[in-house]
């Protein structure tokens, strides 16, 4: 008999209550600047504390670090009760929309913060990503994850194919994959779903989101999704993917052994590969732009200030230090692979240095190009569920041969139901 599963929910409730109780404590500590973050943003902040202490010796930083999921859950709880709120919260790229839309975050465009004066110093898409539909700028970007294609040069060479063939178009990406599979046995990609994920990000109209347009209409049956699903299906049907989930043992093993020929990801993956995933493959990997010059971001970090934070002025000083200080931004890049959101940092000679792991390629220049070309995507609070709905339908297409148009129509019906749940009530 399984134990009482309500413990998880009870745990969340406990934090809810504990937050209320700790409210008094938070007030007593008003002279401390509390910052909540997750790995490895917490390490970057730790590295910046000496600089902060020199500038603000009377305001010590209290860093609260939690695992990524727990951090975002805890921040949801803190914002929901408006108590025991940290002064600064780090938010991950994919969660930003949800937090930004609810109205619990400070508008940094308003006096005395006026973040607008620094807009030209940030990577353009990252700055716009922190802007809500109403024009409020609720988040300042600190790092971005420009997406590129990592590929195994040795596998391509063995298969007798070139980088140009691989990236000319998404269709040529797949046909090249067929040659790679036939001649080397290596999978083109770890998972067909990765290709769908990137293709649905290709060709989004300005103002539209990934799954919804600005008016909240569902877009999952648009040609963008049809093409993404078709390509993913071709990949699966031709056994060009290993059905390997990211971060699994088979995934890292595939990179080490050359069983996976390419991987689309943010700039940071090369650092992880070199450090621990596949250090023995040094010199075998290369970076290039995604097929059809598709531009997309994988991850990224933003700093926000809750409206009810105790030390708003100091919090803003902290955010300015973390996001606008060239040395700190560069240091985060050098030590933690956090690609700077600050444009001033992009001119450093560090970008022109060859990367040993990537066969001496000056890959940082590629990432810089990608970062400058990414377009902001509109966010909707139902993005998370839309992602889930679309992935579930893709599973049905790939594994059970469901018709693509039927799958997307079903996804649209499910999302329509959720998107328009309260419409009738609002009209009344």
């Amino acid at each position: 008999m399984p134990g009482f599963r309500a413990t998880t929910i009870a745990g969340k409730t406990f934090w809810l209550v504990a937050s209320l109780l700790a409210c008094g404590l938070a007030q007593a500590q008003s002279q401390t600047l509390s910052v909540a973050a997750y790995p490895a943003v917490d390490e970057i902040i730790k590295g910046a504390i000496p600089t902060w202490n020199k500038l603000h010796p009377d305001v010590p930083i209290r860093l609260i670090s939690r695992e990524m999921e727990n951090h975002h859950t805890a921040m949801t709880t803190a914002l929901s009760t408006r108590s025991n709120l940290p002064d600064v919260i780090a938010l991950e790229f994919s969660r930003l929309g949800r937090f930004a839309s609810a109205g619990g975050l400070l508008d940094l465009a308003q006096p005395p913060y006026l973040i607008g004066q620094y807009q030209s110093r940030y990577v353009p898409f990252a700055y716009k990503q922190g802007t809500t539909k109403g024009g409020a700028v609720v988040a300042a970007p600190t790092d971005v994850g420009p997406g590129t294609l990592l590929y195994r040069a040795d596998v391509l060479q063995k298969a007798g194919v070139t980088e140009a063939e691989l990236t000319q178009s998404w269709e040529s990406f797949v046909t090249t994959g067929l040659k790679i599979k036939a001649r080397t046995g290596a999978y083109l990609v770890s998972n067909a779903g990765d290709v769908k994920d990137i293709l649905i990000r290709s060709g989004i109209k300005p103002g539209d989101g990934l799954y919804f347009d600005a008016q909240g209409n569902v877009l999952v049956d648009s040609p963008r999704f049809v093409r993404a699903f078709e390509l993913a299906r071709t990949i699966r049907q031709n056994k060009l993917d290993g059905k390997i989930p990211a971060w699994s043992n088979d995934w890292t093993q595939g990179f080490k052994s050359g069983g996976i020929a390419t991987q689309m990801s943010g700039a940071w993956l090369a650092g992880h590969m070199a450090a621990w995933i596949a250090p023995t493959t040094k010199g075998l990997w290369r970076v290039t732009q995604l097929p059809e010059k598709t531009w997309a971001a994988w991850g990224g970090t933003f700093y926000v200030i809750p409206k009810n934070a105790q030390n708003k002025a100091q919090a803003w000083e902290f955010i300015k230090l973390m996001t606008l200080n060239r040395d700190l931004q560069l240091n985060a890049f050098k030590v933690r692979d956090a690609f700077p959101a600050l444009l001033d940092a992009h001119t450093d000679p560090f970008y022109d240095e060859p990367l040993e792991f990537l066969g001496g390629q000056k890959a940082r220049q590629w990432w810089r190009e990608a970062a400058m070309n990414i377009q902001p995507i509109g966010v909707n609070k139902l993005d998370n569920i839309a992602d889930e709905v679309v992935n579930t339908e893709l599973d049905k297409v790939l594994n059970h041969g469901k018709d693509i148009r039927a799958a997307l129509a079903d996804a649209k019906a499910l999302l329509d139901k959720r998107a328009h749940r309260y419409d009738a009530r609002r009209l009344q």
């Binding site: 399984p2 609810a102 619990g104």
Partner: protein
């Protein structure tokens, strides 16, 4: 007896009397630690969740962001095909694991009871071990066992296939247990069965020890064999414990969360084949930020658990009569 010295000290510093607790107040004061904790961690979440079930709430917008929506959350949940899919998954897992646990635990407990004397507790302890093992350790261990290329389970199946005449038992390709919709539920059920079998064995062993030895002796005198004794004495005597065990399995099975969450993934795996209602509820609240619907879902699940518990009660009562 106090010595002269201690008496002197006491005289120098007369002891302050603690304020007396009146006998009327005493019970309340002594009860208060429990009552306060229960109110905060027991009653409050219940009431709050019931209140939330009638609201729509974007939690990051603060408590003021709540809006009353009447029964919308309940109506939506009942029309939500994912809710029913999760219910079907949950029922499948509850039935498969619950039945298997009890059908194996009863004979196993009987076997341990009759075959081991001195080492009985040690054997029982071994079976109980999975129950007290950390879920994370279990998930890690079974992930390795179920691995497609290197897992022991696929290796064993392959090994069986090598035995002449048993080739049909082994699949042509290694089974991707955790990523194939058809094998996710059996994989999760195996873990749940393995984990909670020992708990049920302990329940039945405890019940077996309460059956008077005289009955078995009398039956032996009457010429009853071991099978007849099991069927006509042991099983009927175990009925109250079966009722208790089955009730716990029904409640636990319908609230299944940890095992699929850790073994597969938080999505419930390919085609959500391992998504249980408790997981869907959790995701609705914490991944999809819809606390109102999640609360409504939790109350619907509660009603369903209550109904099945009542049916279990009815089923066992009828048999007793």
């Amino acid at each position: 007896m106090p010595t002269a010295t201690t008496r002197a000290v006491c005289n120098n510093r007369p002891m302050k009397r603690l304020p007396r607790l009146s006998p009327e107040l005493a019970p309340y004061v002594f009860l208060s630690p429990f009552v306060i904790l229960f109110a905060v961690f027991g009653i409050f979440p219940l009431v709050f969740s019931f209140y939330l079930a009638f609201q729509t709430w974007e939690p990051t917008g603060g408590l003021a962001a709540m809006q009353f929506v009447g029964l919308d959350n309940f109506v939506f949940t009942l029309q939500d095909e994912w809710f029913w899919k999760s219910m079907r998954n949950t029922l499948w897992l509850a039935l498969a694991t619950g039945m298997a646990q009890h059908l194996v635990a009863i004979p196993l407990a009987y076997f341990i009871h009759t075959s081991y004397k001195r080492t009985r507790n040690a054997v029982m302890g071994i079976y109980f071990l999975p129950y007290i093992t950390s879920s994370v350790a279990i998930a890690m261990m079974f992930s390795t066992l179920f691995s497609t290329d290197y897992g022991l389970i696929n290796q064993a199946l392959h090994g069986i296939g090598q035995i002449p005449g048993l080739g049909w038992l082994a699949p042509a390709q290694p089974i991707d247990w955790r990523n194939t919709a058809e094998t996710i539920k059996p994989a999760v059920a195996t873990v749940v069965f393995w984990r909670y079998l020992g708990f049920n064995v302990v329940l039945y062993l405890a019940a077996l020890q309460t059956i008077p030895q005289d009955i078995y002796e009398a039956a032996t005198m009457d010429g009853a064999g071991r099978w007849q004794q099991f069927w006509h004495i042991t099983l009927p005597s175990l009925k109250p414990m079966m009722y208790f065990g089955v009730t716990l399995s029904v409640i636990g099975g319908l609230q299944l969360f940890e095992e699929p969450f850790m073994l597969i993934d938080h999505r419930g795996g390919t085609d959500q084949a391992g998504l249980t209602t408790a997981m869907y509820m959790y995701r609705t609240a914490f991944d999809f930020n819809d606390f109102g619907t999640a609360s409504a879902m939790s109350w619907l699940l509660f009603l369903f658990v209550a109904l099945l518990t009542w049916l279990t009660n009815r089923a066992f009562k009828e048999k007793q009569a």
